[in-house]
Symmetry: C2
Subunit: 292 residues, 2 copies
């Protein structure tokens, strides 16, 4: 791990100082990877909190000012904004700077970024699979990424040296880094993350519409329902962006899910006890392999 020891950034710009961006800043500081961290955002109150908590050294609401002289720019902004921010900052990015992101959609983002990325600037598409139900700078903590997977999605145009540097950053903060192509990433995340969100929203809407006599079903939701639908409290705006940016993969996997659900509904309708035990059992076996 000599690369790790030698890697150091004089100035890092974190665009979007919330749970994801703030935690990376804290972890990079803790690992001695950076001298100065500048935060960029729209909410001055949140940015001031980040300064007070020692997450960033200073802040600005001006992206162009924020990225100036930065050796590394981390974009922790909604997927629909990634290319837009790069476009805005383009003229002020330092030649040779590495720009990387944490967005949960990769293929379409990469296509958009390529249209606006200035020559001599290296973009590394990344996605740390970590998070909590909390948001904002106050929710950030240095150990968020420890033991968590982080996916990088290089392609033929990716600079090998910049890729190695970003890999080292994530490994230094404790992540397990995997590389795959953007399409594979989007299919996988479509299944394990985007689909569950769409389902949770649809489920809450279903239960909300369920009335029996003068009773509202939602009033009888127990602990299981609460846990199951927690992700339906996620930001509609953020998830609208993800759904639109990963449209093809999400529609595909929704259709796969619709087929599985139809099978179970068929078993129930037919009173097919064997079929239910087989298909519930198949799911249980897989789920039991996931550590809690």
């Amino acid at each position: 791990m000599t690369a790790k020891k030698n890697l150091h950034f004089r100035k890092v710009a974190i665009i979007g100082v919330g749970l994801i961006g703030g935690s990376l800043a804290l972890a990079m500081r803790e690992q001695g990877l950076v001298t100065e961290v500048v935060g960029v955002g729209r909410g001055v109150e949140n940015l001031q909190t980040a300064v007070d908590l020692g997450i960033i050294d200073s802040y600005t609401t001006d992206v162009r000012e924020g990225v100036r002289d930065a050796d590394l720019v981390f974009l922790a902004v909604p997927v629909l904004s990634i290319a837009k921010v790069i476009e805005t900052a383009a003229a002020d990015l330092k030649p040779g700077a590495i720009v990387t992101d944490g967005g949960s959609v990769k293929e379409t983002v990469l296509l958009e970024v390529k249209k606006v990325l200035p020559a001599g600037i290296h973009f590394i598409a990344g996605h740390p699979i970590a998070g909590t139900e909390f948001s904002g700078a106050a929710a950030a903590f240095a150990t968020l990424y420890q033991g968590k997977k982080c996916i990088l999605t290089p392609d033929a145009d990716t600079d090998a040296c910049a890729l190695a540097a970003v890999r080292t950053i994530w490994e230094s903060v404790g992540s397990i880094v995997t590389e795959m192509d953007p399409k594979t990433h989007d299919a996988i995340l479509g299944a394990v993350s985007h689909l569950p969100h769409v389902i949770a929203y649809a489920l809450v809407n279903t239960v909300d519409g369920t009335e029996a006599g003068d009773m509202a079903a939602i009033d009888y939701s127990g602990g299981g329902f609460k846990d199951f639908t927690r992700i339906a409290s996620s930001s509609p705006d953020m998830w609208k962006d993800i759904c639109l940016m990963n449209k093809t993969a999400i529609v595909d996997v929704i259709e796969g899910f619709q087929a599985e659900l139809e099978i179970l509904k068929g078993h129930i309708k037919d009173g097919n006890a064997e079929g239910l035990i087989k298909d519930f059992g198949r799911a249980k076996k897989v789920r039991d392999t996931i550590k809690n």
Copy 2:
């Protein structure tokens, strides 16, 4: 609450000494509602654990022996077994005894029970909405039902005095008791509990079938997916029973869910940002009203 003070059972039989039955026994003891508790089950090791933990005074694996002289019989067994257990125990039930259950399906269970219930025995259909992810006598604790809803589903045949006694038991152990008709119960629980289980099983099967390149999607599931699919680790056998016993309500609500999901899929396919924000937002608003 004079009823509460006067209510006392000399002997209570708990059929199925797991989380649900064991916790009721512990809570009834704590409230001084019972002198002697007999546990009935098939697993002698679990029953001995229940004795060691002070949940029950003694046990038997013979239902007929267990219910003899019991003033109250609590059935914490799978929904498909409730009527069968009553049928087996019928000749040995004490005249005037109250039999009650904790099953999560009510209408079909009640129909089956009526076919086998001896004259002079009072059956009160109940459903405490409480639980944890653990099972067995060792998982039982006296405060499980505190602050939790408990639904009783009396009908025209229900003995008012026995109903009042069962209500008092649940209120004494801290539950908030509601009465509704069995059909309403089944529609509500079909929506808030049974549907989420069916969805979780279908989702895990979908993700299990998702491969992208040589990557298995399931290996990239983060914390959200784990929480969301925890209920897919539930017993296939128990959920097979529930699905078959509450077939009509579950098929209905699956179809309601299919319609909601189809709407969201349509928005994604059409790139309908406004529609997504509206329908995700509707779900978020409802979900945010559920306290964590």
